[in-house]
């Protein structure tokens, strides 16, 4: 049911004319994703998904959509003009998915789900600050670069 909600939400994202409606559909997709994380016994990741994605990033999306006023002509233009390329791309992607699903059983190793969900936070923390510490620092450097770029771009020219 949750993946059904995600699919319907995803289709609504790309088919609504009003961008605010698309953003709301994306919010439902993200909330359903958080619920799927809960079902996979990862409550910490679900909580962080709600805080960051649904509560932070989508708010910024909505800010931009509301502040950048798309005029009506652009809103009402349909996007059916590239249907041939669209069908080719979708078939290629679908074929890739089917190939990975049927033949690529060794690409995603199947760990047994750790059913004791009480230590999801501890496990994430141990891995993040232990094994993947370097990647963590690089990701934080990336965010710092993004912040500095935003400040530089928004500064007043003297």
């Amino acid at each position: 049911m949750l993946s059904g909600i995600m699919l319907i939400g995803g289709i609504l994202v790309i088919t609504r004319k009003n961008p605010v409606h698309s953003a709301l559909a994306l919010i439902t997709v993200l909330l359903a994703q958080a619920a799927i994380y809960l079902m996979l016994y990862a409550p910490f990741v679900a909580g962080v998904q709600i805080i960051l994605y649904a509560g932070g990033i989508m708010v910024l999306f909505l800010f931009v959509i509301m502040l950048v006023n798309i005029d009506r002509a652009a809103k009402e233009r349909t996007f059916n003009s590239q249907w041939l390329v669209g069908i080719v791309a979708a078939t290629a992607l679908g074929g890739l998915f089917i190939a990975v699903y049927t033949k690529g059983n060794n690409i995603f190793p199947e760990h047994a789900l750790s059913l004791i969900e009480n230590d999801n936070t501890q496990k994430v923390a141990t891995m993040l600050y232990g094994q993947y510490m370097f990647a963590f620092e690089i990701a934080s450097l990336l965010l710092l670069v993004a912040i500095i770029g935003a400040v530089v771009m928004a500064k007043k020219r003297i």
Binding site: I27, F44, G55, G56, V59, F63, M66, L67
Partner: protein
């Protein structure tokens, strides 16, 4: 056959009463529903009481009387307000986006009420105890920002749009400061024997119980500064004075809920007060020791336990005494007869509740809930006090304070809290060796 079914149902209901877990953890659906109902009813009564208290306390702070006509001393004023709001015409602006207009108050109320699943009124008195409790509360309360943005957009009018964008920008920026203060309190929970902290709300209060100190007094003054950051950020998060530029009447004609009328507006109002109670419960749980009575370790022993357990009953008896005092002071005019009788009846009800709470069997069960509610009520009084005292922040001053003052303070408190338990090792092994190396290089010592 029917008798057997009834017996089974009774067995199911009673099997929870002797367990020491929350009903969610014990998996008992019946009691989960009872607890949800109790929380919902309690919250509604609390919002109604907050409405009356806010108007009376603000009035008394401004040397006037507040509502006095509707019931005795205005006690029925919130009910009159509720009836008025329900009977008002439901206006939808003509160009508004009806789906989003309809959904926005729903989203805000949903976020404000779902948070109460994990609020711990006692060691087993929560609906459930998630082991990511505090993360869940912060996450769901950040969904109310979405509702506000939707409300401002759907009204299709510039005052609500600006109000909504300002309000949500303010809420998002103070969420960062709140998060840092919360993290520094969580770090304090890990100072126990096994070295691991916990994110669950009940676990945080139990950590305060084990460590024998409320986190506001721990590592003085770090706990106090973290509490202060959270107290300021939570007022800004709920758009209350002095951070209420987004909904102030003189600035933006009520901001994002300008175009909402009647019942929809009352949903926003309900959600705002519920969010106030929710963030106050976070502050009480994290820093003020949740359901623990004052001085749990300093004044321990059975006599002090007895004295503190009499507090709930004595409080209600005191309130009843105030009611009777005011009954005597009522004007002796025939027009005031109904109000006098009403106030006396209210006083009798309060007195009866107080007497019931003095019974020992009730005393033990009620005192956790009482102490938690008393602390949250103190926070509500502080909210009203701030509204009556402080002038409003201008929006750029507000954002500046959120990012330039509270955020660095939060980071500093977090670093200091995390390194405080090992400050001696840090000093002797991390700071002083390079210092001596440098002095040797500069030939200032050998």
């Amino acid at each position: 056959m029917g008798h057997d079914l009834m017996g089974q149902i009774f067995q199911y209901i009673q099997s929870y009463l002797s367990s020491d877990q929350t009903p969610g953890a014990a998996g008992n659906m019946f009691w989960v529903l009872i607890y949800i109902l109790a929380v919902f009813v309690g919250l509604s009564i609390a919002v109604i009481a907050m409405n009356w208290l806010e108007r009376k306390i603000l009035a008394h702070m401004q040397v006037r009387l507040g509502p006095m006509r509707v019931g005795p001393h205005g006690l029925l004023q919130p009910i009159a307000d509720a009836i008025k709001l329900l009977l008002k015409e439901d206006i939808i602006p003509s160009e508004a986006d009806v789906a989003i207009f309809w959904m926005a108050p729903f989203m805000v109320v949903l976020a404000a009420f779902t948070v109460f699943i994990v609020v711990p009124f006692g060691p087993t008195h929560a609906v459930t105890d998630m082991n990511i409790g505090i993360l869940f509360m912060l996450g769901v309360s950040s969904l109310s920002v979405l509702g506000i943005v939707m409300a401002g957009w759907a009204s299709n009018s510039h005052y609500p749009l600006i109000g909504a964008l300002r309000s949500s920008a303010q809420m998002v920026s103070y969420e960062v400061a709140m998060g840092l203060a919360v993290v520094s309190a969580i770090v304090m929970t890990s100072l126990n024997a096994s070295g691991t902290g916990t994110l669950s709300m009940i676990g945080i209060v139990q950590a305060q119980q084990e460590q024998g100190v409320w986190f506001i007094f721990k590592f003085f003054p770090l706990g106090l500064i973290a509490f202060f950051i959270f107290a300021v950020a939570m007022v800004a998060e709920t758009n209350r004075a002095p951070f209420d530029l987004a909904e102030a009447e003189s600035e933006l004609t009520a901001g994002f809920h300008t175009e909402y009328s009647g019942f929809r507006w009352s949903l926003f109002f309900l959600a705002e007060y519920s969010a106030m109670i929710a963030v106050s419960s976070i502050a009480v749980t994290l820093w003020l020791g949740g359901w623990l009575r004052p001085f749990p370790n300093l004044l321990n022993g059975s006599t002090w336990d007895l004295i503190f357990s009499l507090f709930p009953g004595v409080t209600f008896l005191f309130l009843a005494a105030m009611c009777f005092f005011n009954v005597v002071r009522m004007p002796k005019h025939p027009f005031f007869r109904i109000q006098t009788i009403g106030l006396a009846g209210f006083g009798v009800v309060l007195g009866l509740i107080g007497l019931v709470m003095l019974v020992p069997a009730v005393r033990i069960r009620v005192q956790d809930i009482f102490w938690f509610s008393a602390k949250v009520a103190a926070f509500m009084y502080l909210y009203i006090w701030y509204r009556g005292t402080f002038p409003r922040y201008r929006f750029d001053q507000l954002m500046q304070m959120g990012w330039k003052v509270l955020l660095p303070m939060g980071l500093g408190v977090l670093i200091l809290t995390a390194t405080w338990p090992m400050r001696h090792e840090l000093w002797s092994q991390v700071i002083t060796p390079p210092w001596h190396v440098m002095l040797r290089l500069l030939r200032l010592e050998d």
